[in-house]
């Protein structure tokens, strides 16, 4: 991976989103929870999208979710990912409610990496997954999702 190109894709860490990134570094998926209506939200936001309350806490989420959808990227849209194609993206509905898009972790049972990305063993929609945390080139830890039995530990 082109580390310099990848660094340009990474969002800045700001006072508002720092708890999320600190959580990733600690191997935890942290979400904001509205202190008034209890709704979990993602990404981080200054107010609750449900009730507009500005009062929220950061909670450690279970990391569990289900695959709402997935796709395999073949086109080289980003210089940073030119060497990565094909790679799988998963859109995961977290147990707490919000949807998150990320890459399928390489240690998943049926990872694209196992068979050069052309695995005929397709992911199953609504299949359970767990968040896993791996440093990406350059050191930033992002949440990925794994179908593996040992995942999420």
């Amino acid at each position: 991976m082109d580390v310099a190109a990848y660094a340009k894709l990474l969002p800045d860490i700001t006072p508002r989103n720092k708890p999320f990134w600190d959580g990733c570094a600690a191997g935890e998926l942290r979400l904001q929870k509205c202190a008034d209506c209890g709704r979990y939200r993602f990404p981080d936001a200054p107010v609750c999208p449900e009730c507009l309350s500005s009062s929220a806490s950061w909670e450690t989420a279970s990391g569990a979710g289900t695959i709402w959808s997935w796709c395999t990227m073949h086109q080289k849209y980003f210089a940073a990912f030119a060497d990565e194609v094909p790679y799988r993206l998963v859109y995961v509905r977290l147990a707490e409610g919000p949807l998150v898009i990320s890459v399928l972790a390489e240690d998943s049972d049926d990872s694209a990496a196992d068979s050069g990305g052309t695995s005929s063993k397709e992911l199953r929609l609504d299949q359970p997954v767990h968040a896993v945390f791996r440093p990406r080139p350059g050191g930033r830890v992002i949440p990925q999702f794994s179908t593996g039995a040992a995942a999420g530990m």
């Binding site: 993602f42 898009i101 929609l125």
Partner: protein
């Protein structure tokens, strides 16, 4: 559909403003022209179509993608020499923006704020600047844009397609029918970027871009542009050109909502009913549709969301030539659409409007003109289905 004709005069229509001029730039690769120059060429083209000149313009509309100061109308108004503007607007809604602009121009005219409104769009993603897409991350982007995971705009449409397939049994072959119809229409358009007629097999055998979307499921990348002129009824009466009625209009947005999303529908579910209600017509009354076609799945979901078929029935609906002009049940994008003809600046809203005007005036290409075309629907889908998407629906009518 002849029963409609008797009812047409009773429609609660917004008849204060009409479309009087429309022009699509014939070019698809314009390496030697500046963006401003393309805006100017389409402006002059649409005004000439109406029998007007730049001196007549008192309302000007363009998107934030226009070149120059601050993003928006200012620099282009200066470049075009528009000295007597009384109304200006640069509402930003991605590829749907021009449809917002036409609608907002009609509202401004109805409110007496201007009487000759010019809407322009131009882009050079093919030979020049590539907006969005492969560009660097903006620091203000939130996690959900997620390009650091290697996701991009196309990936959310691919995710939507896979989920639609899972929930409703939609197939790649059904999505391909949409491209097949567009390619047949493009074969009648001498300016179309892709003129070869494609089969379902051609589409599903084209290389994968973002599985399950193939290259042929994606719109073309073209330079070019287009413009539309909206005027008051009074101005239209002084001109020797067939007006097109703006009967109804609706807008809506579907935003990130803190991660509470469903990609199997678009905000057309809200903009559509608003437009139909104002126009006083139903989907059954529509003779022609210009549907935003960034990807085949975009068309499929919008057709469902606008009520042309039930949710989940889109795959079956588009089979057997439903969308093919002139005799399909619901001919769409008869210029070849963004899938085969033109998607200037990654913004299909202007070409969608222009082709509907051509159909209602009886000026579509030979072979795709719908006989007795009275009511057309134009729908734009802006932004990214997975994050912040916006919809604009317009219902246009042939002038009595």
């Amino acid at each position: 559909m002849s029963s409609r004709k008797g009812r047409m005069r009773m429609f609660n229509a917004n008849d204060a403003a009409v479309i009087i001029g429309a022009y699509e730039h014939p070019g698809r690769e314009l390496p030697d022209k500046s963006l401003a120059q393309i805006h100017a060429e389409v402006a002059i083209g649409a005004l000439a179509d109406a029998g007007l000149t730049l001196d007549d313009v008192d309302g000007y509309f363009c998107g934030h993608d226009a070149p120059g100061y601050g993003g928006g109308w200012v620099t282009m108004a200066e470049y075009l020499g528009l000295r007597d503007l009384t109304y200006m607007d640069s509402t930003e809604s991605g590829g749907a923006s021009p449809i917002y602009h036409v609608s907002h121009a009609a509202a401004a005219i109805a409110a007496g704020k201007c009487s000759v409104a010019l809407i322009t769009l131009a882009g050079k993603p093919r030979t020049g600047i590539q907006p969005g897409g492969g560009g660097p991350a903006r620091p203000e982007d939130d996690f959900e844009t997620a390009i650091f995971t290697g996701a991009g705009l196309v990936s959310t449409y691919a995710l939507a397609a896979r989920r639609h397939m899972y929930e409703f049994g939609t197939t790649s072959e059904q999505l391909a029918e949409i491209k097949v119809a567009a390619s047949k229409h493009a074969s009648h358009n001498p300016n179309a970027f892709l003129q070869k007629v494609m089969t379902v097999e051609d589409v599903v055998n084209s290389p994968m871009v973002a599985d399950p979307l193939h290259r042929a499921d994606c719109c073309v990348v073209t330079d070019g542009g287009g413009a539309v002129v909206v005027v008051s009824r009074e101005v239209a009466r002084s001109l020797d050109r067939q007006p097109v009625r703006i009967m109804g209009q609706g807008e809506s947005a579907k935003l990130t909502n803190g991660g509470k999303l469903d990609l199997t529908y678009t905000s057309a579910v809200w903009s559509g009913p608003r437009a139909f209600e104002q126009a006083g017509v139903t989907p059954q009354d529509v003779d022609y549709v210009s549907i935003y076609d960034s990807f085949t799945i975009t068309v499929l979901e919008i057709l469902e969301d606008l009520g042309f078929c039930a949710k989940g029935e889109g795959g079956r609906f588009v089979m057997d030539g439903t969308l093919v002009a002139p005799h399909g049940r619901l001919p769409f994008n008869t210029d070849g659409g963004g899938l085969s003809n033109n998607h200037p600046g990654h913004r299909g809203g202007i070409t969608k409007t222009i082709e509907a005007v051509r159909q209602l005036r009886g000026e579509a290409n030979q072979g795709v003109q719908i006989p007795d075309c009275e009511i057309a629907l134009v729908h734009g889908n802006g932004g990214d289905l997975g994050t912040r998407m916006r919809s604009a629906t317009m219902i246009l009518g042939r002038d009595a």
